[in-house]
Symmetry: C2
Amino acid sequence: MPKDLYAQSGVDINKGNQAVKKIKEMVKKLGIQEIGKFSGFFPLKQKTRNPILVSSADGVGTKLKIAFLMDKHDTIGKDLVNHCINDILVYGAKPLFFLDYISTGKLEPAIVSSVVSGILEGCVENEFVLLGGETAEMPGFYSPGEYDLAGFIVGLVEKKKVIDGLKIKKGDLVIGLPSSGLHTNGYSLARNIVFEKLQLKVDSPVEGLEKTIGEELLEVHRSYLRPVQTLIAKDLIKGMAHITGGGFIDNIPRILPDDLGAQIERIWPVPSIFEFLVKAGKISKREQFRVFNMGIGMVLIIDKNNLSKVEKVLNSNKEKYFLIGQVKETKGKNRISIN
Amino acid sequence: MPKDLYAQSGVDINKGNQAVKKIKEMVKKLGIQEIGKFSGFFPLKQKTRNPILVSSADGVGTKLKIAFLMDKHDTIGKDLVNHCINDILVYGAKPLFFLDYISTGKLEPAIVSSVVSGILEGCVENEFVLLGGETAEMPGFYSPGEYDLAGFIVGLVEKKKVIDGLKIKKGDLVIGLPSSGLHTNGYSLARNIVFEKLQLKVDSPVEGLEKTIGEELLEVHRSYLRPVQTLIAKDLIKGMAHITGGGFIDNIPRILPDDLGAQIERIWPVPSIFEFLVKAGKISKREQFRVFNMGIGMVLIIDKNNLSKVEKVLNSNKEKYFLIGQVKETKGKNRISIN
């Protein structure tokens, strides 16, 4: 009688159970709710009047290829978690729980555990829980040692506290909060420049950069929850944009009323990694701001009369910030001008 | 100045926007909330006391390969939605909203739209909403024309109505509800048998099967929401198991107290597709019930005194069912015996 037929076809159920077991041990250690059954439970405390669940799905894009090249898998999960947090934070929502999807050709428990450890770390740092997830073994889908990764977040905001951008008006100020690197966008172009055009290796040192190019590119996408949540609580933010794929050009208009745009002044120090990529790739100014965050990962729109209050909160959170522009009346397609 | 640098690297932002636009049109047509910004909003109506959010992440596994082979992408999304519904339904939860993650090497708007149309259909049929999602273009991750697909569901159940299996006792009855085919598990083994061992094509007719082998394998994973929700409302179910990866052997014990098992009698008519695979693959009985659902996609545990009430509800819903076993005292590993 054939014993391990299913294993022979490329799926090993026992190995899958091993990975889940490892994950459960970590989850238990960190005091987070148990995972691994059909679904996860999250009891909703009813302190909020008119609660709105805010939910987002995301991946980390081809930043994964950098993790593969460096064989370093313990930070990419944190990129994913932080990306998702920022995507709901822009509406004023606080994260409740997270679920992950990891898909790979052949399950390597050590790699999966490493990825999940990053996810757990991201959850713990931002004080919310990993509620569950799926680890899929998909023979023939991925190259050996590679995987794809998606995350799902659910957060909560009170209806009357939703940050929807509707009160934004001409003359409001645009504040930029610094990014920690490329975050999770622009990697296809960056990889093309670094590994195809310049033929660098991940451990190549680059003039002007403190770390190797691999380390620079794998720098963790930061969460803006801590510095921003006090501003939200004090009702100091009119609109917020997470600078992800599409950069300033596509993301800022998402929170502006249709007849408004923004005039951005490039006054902040652009981090060396972007200067390097822009120069090596001969990237036009408009393209830079459409593909990369260029050193600003989160944009806040505030009333100009609140500037000193906002500055006080950010300073007390030791959060760097830059006053990078102003809201203006505009028409047509190019609503974001960059000087 | 290089104009389409980013497109040259394999990511086309405008094409991505096109797909999102197509999706938005469909969403609008179906009367579902708008998607496509940073995240989705779901207002929670506070009718439920002590609400518990129940959430699950899942994929459809290598059933995707059948969709690729048949170049038919409009049903796989429904598989995903229904799978996720069943995973939260087992705890008595009713679906609130869904998010999807589609990842592909090069975005083909027609394929993405087709996949999303299946997701939307699944949501509409089960009367809940697609709240958002991510379509990721990942050059170098997937073979041309291929993609991966993950889904994320959030449902709600009142705390005192959670179906947790704790009240299950010796002598309770096991009811099986028919599956519509392989659902979403056992595809690596099935593909191995059909396409490697037997060298069949997807359009090959097979003796004893009404449809081509491709059509049989792509048969949509059904949702059990409609027949089961009345039983839940009437408090007639003590425990429920969705027969997914791991089959009867791994899934039924998930809802049984530790000292109980089940004696299953194979009295239902096993659908021809399973008979065919088992015979062609020379699969042992234990392996059959660990890899495939063998014609039973959902298992309900009920009190024997409620049998006639349960039968009445299922009959009035025109739902077929089979009394397939009984709960018994057991110890050790093999808690599920199959006669």
